[in-house]
Subunit: 456 residues, 2 copies
């Protein structure tokens, strides 16, 4: 590769890694109100860094929640403009006792850096910033016009950025978006993600009595919020993974025969996936669909937790007056969050036992999306990746949700290039999250080369 920017990145890699560690030490957990100051601190750290490397118009943009970070460099006359996106917020680290090293003390073991946010998404955000720094430092300019927009609410629904994007501000005028929040299909295999599931995240609350009751005195006559709730939850999905909400599958657009054939040719060992990645006795899911289809092209229902009642050590003989399940559903192309939520809510209200009150609340949602692979930025990305990784790019989807990709499309007309460098076993949202250091390094180089190709 004859790129002075790539040379700069290689020479400065040890410093880049130190700077990633600094960012990882900030516990910018967006879901927990007590970490609001940490979120702002992470935003400020990124802003300061962009100022230092030569980006312009750097500033924090306030939202109803955590701030956005904006910067631009717009001196590549006649060249396209990329909108670079990432998020500086992270998931809560619980359960804490399962981490081998503290979640906010980045630790290197076996060629990986372990920390909450290592791969999702601070490691990838830092890779983007270091690509820009390398280009600016080595050449004094950028090969295309660049706008950067980082958010701090991705893990909590992205309300702030959604509103900002929907307002179509002049700061976001661009030709395409570069989103680095995805992963390689397999180690060493360059990958572009061209489809995402959407989601609705909900709370299902059941109230059974005015106050908690003694289970000895009242057990057998008084309704129990948890008992009613488990009866409702058990009817959302049968034991074969089939969702029982009427109409839930009606609008699904299935993948094309060509796409299904490409998925079948991916290097995938279901037994290894079960044993090493999922770590379960068996996989579950709908009959007639393989793992790729189940996780990329079929909707789901998952339960995340059921706060309420007695959760301490030992025994408390209480009939809880209230129980709340955190329930989410992943949606696939063809489905909309609004209709999915309406179907779910009306079904729950219909099946709820008559002795309890139910309240179904939408916490946040995101649209599913599908990117056409024949656009020129996807083609430029493919060329850059081939050069860096020495292999043809595979096009995959992700089962996860990046609602902003749908927003960029709907409000700004931007196709997204989802170029990310995570690995399937990086423990996203789980204890011992990591980022493979080789992927951090090659990620920076890939992003440099992609910007060079896109601006060529």
């Amino acid at each position: 590769m004859s790129s002075t920017a790539v040379d700069f990145a290689r020479q400065n890699y040890p410093r880049f890694l130190d700077e990633l560690k600094s960012l990882l030490r900030i516990p910018s957990i967006s879901t927990l109100p007590e970490h609001a100051d940490d979120c702002r601190k992470a935003a400020q750290t990124l802003a300061t860094e962009m100022q230092r490397i030569g980006m312009e118009n750097v500033r924090l943009i306030e939202t109803s929640g955590h701030p956005l970070v904006y910067a631009d460099w717009l001196h590549a006359a006649g060249k396209p403009t990329v909108l670079v996106y990432g998020h500086y917020d992270v998931q809560p680290p619980d359960p804490l006792d399962e981490w081998l090293s503290p979640p906010f003390e980045p630790t290197i073991r076996d060629g990986n850096i372990y920390a909450r946010g290592a791969v999702d998404d601070k490691g990838q955000v830092v890779a983007q910033v270091k690509a820009l720094e390398s280009l600016l430092a080595a050449t004094g300019k950028l090969p295309l016009n660049v706008r950067v927009l980082f958010e701090g609410e991705e893990e909590v629904g992205g309300e702030g950025i959604a509103k900002f994007v929907a307002s179509k501000p002049p700061e976001l005028k661009a030709d395409f978006a570069l989103v680095s929040d995805t992963e390689l299909f397999a180690p060493g295999l360059p990958t572009l993600c061209v489809g995402l599931r959407g989601m609705i995240y909900t709370e299902l609350e059941v109230k059974s009595s005015r106050t908690d009751l003694h289970s000895g005195m009242y057990g057998g006559a008084a309704p129990n919020a948890f008992v009613s709730l488990v009866h409702i939850l058990a009817k959302l999905k049968d034991e074969n993974g089939h969702i029982l909400i009427p109409g839930f599958y009606d609008d699904i657009i299935p993948p094309s025969a060509e796409e299904l054939a490409a998925w079948k040719s991916l290097p995938f060992d279901e037994e290894e996936y079960r044993a090493k990645e999922v770590g379960s006795k068996q996989l579950v899911g709908e009959a007639g669909y393989n793992v790729m289809e189940r996780t990329w092209a079929r909707p789901t229902v998952d339960i995340h937790g059921i706060p309420g009642g007695f959760t301490g050590a030992g025994a408390k003989t209480v009939i809880p007056a209230k129980a709340t399940a955190k329930v989410s559903m992943r949606l696939v192309p063809g489905m909309t969050p609004a209709k999915a939520f309406a179907l779910y809510k009306s079904y729950v209200e219909k099946i709820a036992p008559k002795e309890v009150d139910v309240d179904v609340r939408l916490i946040h949602s995101g649209d599913p999306c599908l990117i056409p692979v024949n656009n020129k930025y996807i083609q430029a990305a493919t060329r850059a990746l081939h050069e860096v990784w020495g292999k043809d790019t595979v096009f995959i989807r992700s089962g996860g949700s990046i609602p902003i990709v749908g927003d960029f499309d709907r409000h700004l007309g931007l196709p997204s290039v989802m170029m990310g460098f995570g690995l399937p076993d990086d423990n996203l949202h789980a204890p011992n999250e990591k980022f493979h250091l080789k992927n951090f390094e090659l990620g920076i180089i890939s992003l440099i080369r992609f910007m060079e190709e896109a601006g060529a």
Copy 2:
């Protein structure tokens, strides 16, 4: 009533109330390890008090958990010996935000004293001690031989006292037990409890994967511990309150026709019970059984909480690797904890989805019991109560469990007189627990007169 002890109690009632308040200020929560010192402090307070009033051989008896408090006075030659029982430990106060006054700052409102433990069981323990004090102070002696045994683990299974009782120590040689941990059937209605449900308190743990997983990446293919758990829990009891565990009802001894007829004549308004006491939209339970039968003579399944997963504010898109339900069952005469647990465990293992591991653990248990009403101590209690309350005593059962009553019978051959003074709306195990002050006062007087009658 011509009892100088009763006169003493009436004259000293304001001081008795202050002493109750002092005991209620000690947060002796036996289920929470961090309150072990408070449990010991409550035990020591009672021991010091019994020393002061003239009881003998006062001491703490160490157990594997919180200490027992022992005292005796054995100078009534030729008279029977009573074993006085109560417990100084209390339930946790959560949910804290529903208390109108702090749970460990006793507060008097509308003729009631509000605090955790007010009625369960510190108020009743103090009533026993004050009855003994009144008799000793007014007459210089007791009308019968008295042994006192207070425990600090009633709310956590009573392991310590169970072992001590099972060892049949000479300190517990007696003719009958006096247990004050029950309630009046209705305000002003003297009541003796002659039957208790037993129980098994269990944890049902489901493990679905090695670690928590991202619900976007893996949702649809990876098992979810909460989803599997709710399918198991929904099969424990159907939506009509019928328990689905095979054989669970087989050994039940139903109440006699005479007992059922007596229950029907009790002053009970089901609609008022639903609206004011339970505070639910509807009552639940098995068809063909009234509320008394459902809560006193039929077994139950209740879920108390489901720790694990994500329970914080907002959203975390995780597939939890583990979920644990706290599940208890109340047992009725004819049933045994060992058989009930074995049936439950084997049923759960049979119905558990094949993709998860289940572990069913017994946390603690207690036998159901039934006291014959024709023994002379029950007769003496009936006479004393008639004199104090001006009404005939009603014989009821309780849906709750007092395992020690079964232990006193099985190991020591002692019939128990369950004479308690709570009210149905005292909020046991719930926020705003209270004790009606009139019942505290008449309780002390009833206990004095009962001891006088039992020793006559």
